[in-house]
Structures are given as C-alpha cells and as structure tokens.
C-alpha cells in the first residue's frame, strides 16, 4: 500500500454578509485516520466541511494534497481529487430510485446506453460492504429519513472518495445502524481514506476518532489525538468554560394535578394499534421505543397530523376531533415535529416569520400582523432559546442545523400550549443547547404544562420524564415510574421480538434482549452526571440510543 495521503488545510476563512463564520482555520488530515470535528451549534463545522469539499467557496484558504495545492471551492474539482461530502441537510433526488441516486451523474454506460446492470452489481457490493439493507429500486422520496441518510453514504462510497466528510451522519440513525456505520467508517479509514466526522455525540467521537479538532466561534481551538481527551475536556474546549451538564430534576407532580391529555385506544393503520395514555398537568411523559415502533405516528395521530382510524383524544375533558391540526391547536395541543426541513420550517423565510407562524391568529388586528408585538414576542423567544446566527433577519436556511432546531422549538412555545408533544427535542443540537432545551422542558412542566416527549436517546427519556412508556410494534408495552426505569430494562422491552403484530396483546411478554445489544455496559442510570466523570450524561449519549 502506498503512503497514506496528507491533506493540509490552511487559513480557511469565510464571512456571510460581513459576519465572519470561519476565521483562519488550519489543521492537517491524514489518510487512514478518522478525524472528529467538534463545536457548538453555529461554530462553523458544516461551513468548514463544505468549503473543504467544494460545496461552498471559502473567502480564503488553501488545500495542500500531499504538499501540492489543489483548487478550492468547486464541487467538480473536489470530486476529481477524491473529496466527497455527506451533508447535514440531505441532498438527494426524491423522484429517483435509490440506485439512480447512488450513481447520480456517474451512471455506467456502454456505447452511450445506461448500463443498469453494471450499477446494480456495484450497488450489491457496496451494500455487502456496509451491511445497509436498502432496496435499490425504491424511490428515495418514499424512504424514511434514516434510509435516505444511508443512500447518501452509499453515494459517497460509490464515488470512490479518498477524503470523506460526514456531517452528523449518525444523528438520524438507531443504535444498530450507528454501530454499523461506525464500522464502515473504520473500514474506510483502514482502506486509506481520510474521514472527517462531525458529531454532537462526544462518546461516539472519542470511541471512533483518531484525532479531534474543536472549533469555537469560527476559530480553531485545538487539534490533537482523541486518546488525550475526555468528554469533559472536549466540552471545555467547545464552550470555553467548564459546563454543568446535569439533567435538571423535574418538579414532582402534585397528586391533585388534573389529567390534561387523555387518549384511549388510539389507532392508525399498522403503526398505532390501540394506544391509551394520560398526561397530567406538570408531568413529563417520555416515550421510548425503536424507530418504526409507532412513536412518531402516535404523536401525529394525537395532534391530528394524520387521520385516526379509531380512538378518542381529550384535552382537559374536551374531545379533540380527528385529523385537524388547527382544531388540536385550539384545544391546547402543540407538536414539535420530527423533521424540521420537511414538516417544520419555511426554510426560505425569516426566523421571525417562522417563529410566529403557528400563533398568527393571536397577534393580529383586523387581519393585520401586529408587527411590534410579534417582533417582541419572537425576540424574547429567540433570546430564551439562545438562537444564534450570522443574520437572524435572513432566511432560516442560513442558520446552522442546531439553531434551526431551536427555531422550530420556539415556534411551538410562542403561544403556551396546554400540552406539548415533542418528537426528538434535541436532534442535532450541541451539548450546551441540549441542556438548555432540557431545562426549558422541565420549567414548562413546572409551570403546569403537560409534556409528551419521544426520543431515540433512551438517556434523554429517562433523564427528563416523570413517567416512561415503552412502545413496540404500535403498542405501549410497559410503563415505568421515574427511577424504576433503567436503560437495560427499557431497551430490552423495546427490542423484545414479540410474535407478528396481530396476534393478540403482547404487553409484558418476557423481554428478550436483541442480539446486537447484549453488550450494553452495566452502568447505572444517573440522573445527574458531569461530563468529567465520562459517565453517560447528555453530552455522551451516543451509545444509549437504542
């Protein structure tokens, strides 16, 4: 094998509208090594990776490939020199098949005719290598998010890239999928590629990366071997000060607290098969379960985002009619959806307009937007959530991923719902912002709001909730009080392979641990953890996700 490549990044700088988001960033990547890129939301990680991989043109910056400068800032040049980017906001053609997307623009051909068979054979080899289970003839637009992410990964692999940037590739994946992906990443490095990995899961970064680089406010803070870092030291570099990453202790729910949300025998196709649940005032109820267990569908059916096939939903004793988000909102429900890009934000519109959207009716005078009231309310919300961007008057798509998530959150908190339904509250947000959002949820509950949280991070569900529900195959299979639930018990129940779904009630069946998860480390479930102890706190929850 030849000498591993060496990529020197020199003096990368970029400003948007006069606001610098990258300032003179320099460090070196090596073939055969995995390089973690860390920083708070908006630190400039994605911008740097895009600049290196040719997706945006930096204002300044050179790339030396084995000492020779190569052109910077054009996707074609980048591809030609073996740079590939798997971006945070997936960029696929929804109306094309998986196969066509993976080989987009590079289709094999004979005498000008597309050779589908050649592509299919190559695709099979890729799938074998990665262990991804994807139908090449499926339309990308119809795939769930996690599968789309895998298609992006396959596409980068198919281009035979030697420098691969991955922007939060595991944010959407389950535990098993994450493990598989990380194995693929190691394989790639072993085969000589230089891999750059952005992630907010510090444990994940520490376990897989050889080197780490931390950015703060667009500046390079440190680069060094991962083995010399702990989650706590990384957080200190990222935030600039030690940070207390405790889960806030939820305020106990008074015994007299009324039930705010009551659902009985909720049904929706195969996804939700008779779910009943209560959420009381001041209570945070967490729902754990695998992707596909019907958690999101349950929230959507409660909120009326999807029609229901049966069952009733009541808020404070009032029946909520099915299938109408606007009626659900009037009854006092709000839902922070799973995908900010598809279901949440108007990416081309301003932050303020997005935040104000759900409560338009409340700030109007004879149909006119009360501009000042809206500005003040939106401003206060953005301040509470600490939303940061180079230009908050500009369109939302210019914000970093984590800040977009905060905007989405803000939109639903603007008008103080009675019951807040949250699907993946902290997807893509950094450690500091994550604990801010947790604090916020606990405070909202303390004020008497009912909160129903779905999260793929078991740690998050356990840390936040008064009560934990476990969902499997469209049913609630278990309920734990705070303190009773441990990660092991919850995961075992979530993974338990019960008989095919229509075969009667399955709750409480003997929990059979999933084969892939038999090696769950036997740590207690701490409610409070500081990063320096390297125990699974919120900063470090990569491996707790089922």
């Amino acid at each position: 094998m030849s000498q591993p490549v060496r990529i020197d990044l020199e003096g990368f700088g970029k400003a948007y509208g006069g606001v610098p988001v990258l300032r003179d960033v320099s460090f070196t990547l090596h073939g055969g090594r995995v390089h973690g890129l860390l920083g708070e939301n908006g630190a400039g990680k994605s911008t740097l990776l895009k600049a290196v991989c040719g997706a945006v043109a930096p204002d300044t910056g050179r790339i030396l490939l084995d000492g020779r400068p190569i052109p910077v800032g054009s996707p074609r040049d980048a591809l030609r020199h073996g740079f590939a980017l798997i971006s945070q906001e997936l960029a696929l053609v929804p109306a094309m098949t998986v196969l066509d997307n993976v080989y987009l623009g590079r289709w094999r051909h004979r005498f000008g005719w597309r050779s589908r068979r050649g592509d299919a054979a190559a695709f099979d080899r890729l799938v074998e290598r990665t262990g991804f289970d994807i139908d090449p003839s499926a339309l990308v637009g119809e795939l769930p998010l996690a599968a789309r992410q895998q298609v992006e990964i396959l596409r980068a692999l198919a281009s035979g890239a030697s420098v691969i940037g991955m922007d939060e590739p595991t944010a959407l994946l389950t535990k098993t999928e994450t493990d598989r992906l990380l194995a693929v990443v190691r394989d790639l490095a072993a085969a000589g590629a230089a891999v750059v990995l952005i992630s907010h899961f510090l444990e994940e970064v520490l376990s897989i990366c050889d080197d780490v680089t931390v950015l703060r406010d667009g500046r390079h803070v440190m680069t060094g071997p991962a083995s010399e870092q702990t989650p706590g030291s990384l957080v200190r570099h990222m935030v600039g000060r030690p940070l207390d990453l405790l889960y806030p202790e939820p305020v106990p729910v008074p015994a007299t607290a009324p039930v705010l949300l009551r659902a009985r025998d909720l049904r929706r196709g195969d996804a939700v098969r008779g779910v009943s649940l209560d959420v009381r005032a001041g209570e945070i109820v967490g729902v754990a379960g695998l992707v596909g267990s019907g958690r999101s569908e349950t929230l959507r059916a409660l909120f009326g985002a999807d029609p229901r096939d049966g069952g009733t939903v009541e808020v404070e004793g009032e029946e909520v009619p099915p299938g109408s988000p606007s009626r659900a909102m009037r009854a006092g429900l709000a839902m922070v959806p799973e995908s900010r890009k598809d279901q949440g934000l108007l990416l081309g519109r301003s932050v303020r307009e997005n935040v104000a959207l759900a409560g338009l009716g409340g700030r109007q005078l004879a149909g006119f937007v009360r501009s000042r009231a809206e500005g003040e309310a939106a401003g206060a919300m953005l301040r509470d959530l600490d939303v940061r961007g180079s230009d908050l008057g500009g369109p939302v798509w210019t914000l970093s991923g984590g800040n977009q998530q905060k905007v989405l959150f803000g939109k639903w908190l603007m008008d103080r719902p009675r019951v807040l339904l949250v699907d993946e509250p902290t997807r893509g947000v950094d450690v500091a912002a994550k604990s801010q959002i947790h604090r916020l949820l606990v405070d909202l509950a303390a004020d008497g709001m009912g909160v129903l949280v779905v999260s793929s991070e078991v740690e998050e569900v356990l840390g936040l909730s008064h009560r934990v529900l476990v969902m499997r195959h469209g049913r609630m299979v278990a309920e734990f009080a705070r303190g009773e639930a441990t990660r092991e018990r919850v995961l075992a129940l979530a993974f338990a392979d019960d008989a095919p779904p229509d075969d009667g009630p399955a709750p409480g069946g003997p929990p059979a641990p999933h084969p892939q998860d038999t090696t769950i480390p036997d740590t207690p479930t701490p409610d409070t953890v500081t990063p320096d102890t390297a125990a699974p706190g919120i900063a470090t929850s990569a491996e707790e996700r089922p």
């Binding site: 303020r352 307009e353 230009d391 008057g393």
Partner: protein
Amino acid sequence: MTTTADTGPETGPDTESVPQTAGQAGGRAAARRFTRLHDFGIVLSVAAIVVALSLTTGTFLTTGNLVNLLDQAAVVGLLACAATVVIISGAFDLSITAVLAVSAIVAVVVTTHAGVPAGVVAAVAVGALLGAVNGLIVVTVKVHSFIATLALSIMYRGLAVILTAGAIVYPPEDRLQAFQALSWPTVLGGVTASSLLFLAVAAVCWVLLSRTTFGRRVYAVGGNEEAARLSGIRVGSVRVAVFAISGVCAALAGLVLAARGGSAQASMATGMELTAIAAAVVGGTSVLGGEGAIWRGLVGVLLITLIGNGFNLLGWDTIYQQVVQGALILGAVSFDRVLRARRS
C-alpha cells in the same frame, strides 16, 4: 437584543434589520445592517434601460409618455398581481385571461340590461366566482394547478364564445361613454383611471402579502405545505382565497380592456397570461413558491412595458421587438442571478 425593524414577508430589502441574539458573554458579531444589493439586480437592470431611453430619446421623460406608459402597463400589471400572488402560494393560474374575457363579456351584457355600475359589480363577482372554482378544483381534485387551470381556461373561453355567440359585443350607445370611464384621464395629471386602478390593486396586494396574517399564510403554504398544515393553517381555504383574488384581478383587467376598446369578445387578451407570469418571475419571484413580492412583479411589468415603449420612441421596426424583448429579459434575469450568486 432588539427586533426593531420589520422582517416581514417582503418589506423590501431596505428595512431588514438583523435581530441578533447576543448569546453568551464574550460577544458575538454585533447586530449589523447590510444592504442586500443582490435583491436589487433586476431594479438596476430596469434603471439602466430607463437611463438609456432618457439619453437616446428626447421624448421618454415627458409627462405625456410616462402617462401613456403607465396606461399601457395597467392590464399586464393587474394580471401580474394575480400571477404573483398565485405563484407565491405555490401554484399557477393559467386561466386568468380566460376569466378576463368572461368577466368583460359579462360586464357588457349586464351593462346592456341593468346599467354600468351593475355591469362592473357583476364582472368582479364573476371573476371571484370563477377564481374560487379554480381553487376548489385544485384543492379537491388535487391535480397540479398548472394542468387544472389550463383545462379550466379552455372551458372558460368556450363559455365566453357561448355568451357572445362568437361575436363582438358592445354596450348600448347611450351607456358607452360611462362604460369607457376607466380609460379617461383623471385630474391627477392626466393619468388614466385604469392606471390608478392598477396602482390601487397593486398596493392592496402588497399590503395583503406583507402586512396581514393572510399574507403570511400564503407564503407558508407556498413555502412548505406540510409545515403550514402542521402549524394549524387551513391550506385548502388559503388556496381557494388566493385563486379568488386572482380571479378578481383578472376581472378588473377585463374591465380596463373592455373600457379601452368599448367592447368585449371571447378571444380577448389571449396569451397574455404568459406575459403576466413572465413579469412576475422576471422580477425575482420564485416559481417554486413561498418567495417573492408584489414589487418584484411590478418591476417585471415595467421592464416588459418599457421595451415596447422604447421601440415606439426610437422608431425601430417592430419586427425585431420580440427578439429584443426576449433578449433583454434574459439579460436582466442573468444579471439578477449573478448578483444573487455572490451571496452564497
């Protein structure tokens, strides 16, 4: 932090301030205003043509010519308002000129039987009705609006033929003068009533889109229909309302055109819907929906009208007009693109 200036849907680039969350101590880049030059590319293109015409002709900057220019812009302008609103909502309305014809014919017919005011009211009502029908069909049948309104426009043209039995219809002699009132000059420097109507409608649409909750909903539905629905917006009602507004604008354009000619017929304004859509898009309103502004449509209208006007003034052979018109539109749009690309 402050959120003083308006960052509403389309305040025009000049008033955007930058509400910044200072975040943690240590200070981020301070709030900063920066002019969004890239938003003004198309305006610069139009300004360049204006300057060129002023310099090369002695007649361009005369009151008479400017009044004339505005009058010429009225019909396309009203249609461009319709097109802009519909495109922002994420749809297309190809039936506007067919609705225009039906409304104009209804105006003439009702005027004949019940007088001019009744004719005007009937025309606007028919425009709103046909527009609402468009909207209802798009919402319920769920075919793409491009196809639905194409089919409907053929039906409306057919309806117009039936109403007129294929002939040109005129209001009765004694009511003709009142019927043509829209084409009269007004006391405002001789500007025609049609021009004022156009400006008034543009102003109303502008306010509607940029200042009202309805406008916000239109942008939301066009930008991300699912997000809009999950935000409690009744997407169907918004769409029907948008098409009804489009129908009303078309009917008003029909009144202007009928007043100008003193007659109406089934083939009125054929093909002009494409000019109107072009005007909206040339100004920078995204065909994908969810972005754009009325002022952009107006700039597009101005560009298109200026070119015709310039040909007249310069005495050029109108044989070349279409080629030059197409080329100038392309040039203006390219310039706009170049400026915007600077940004990202």
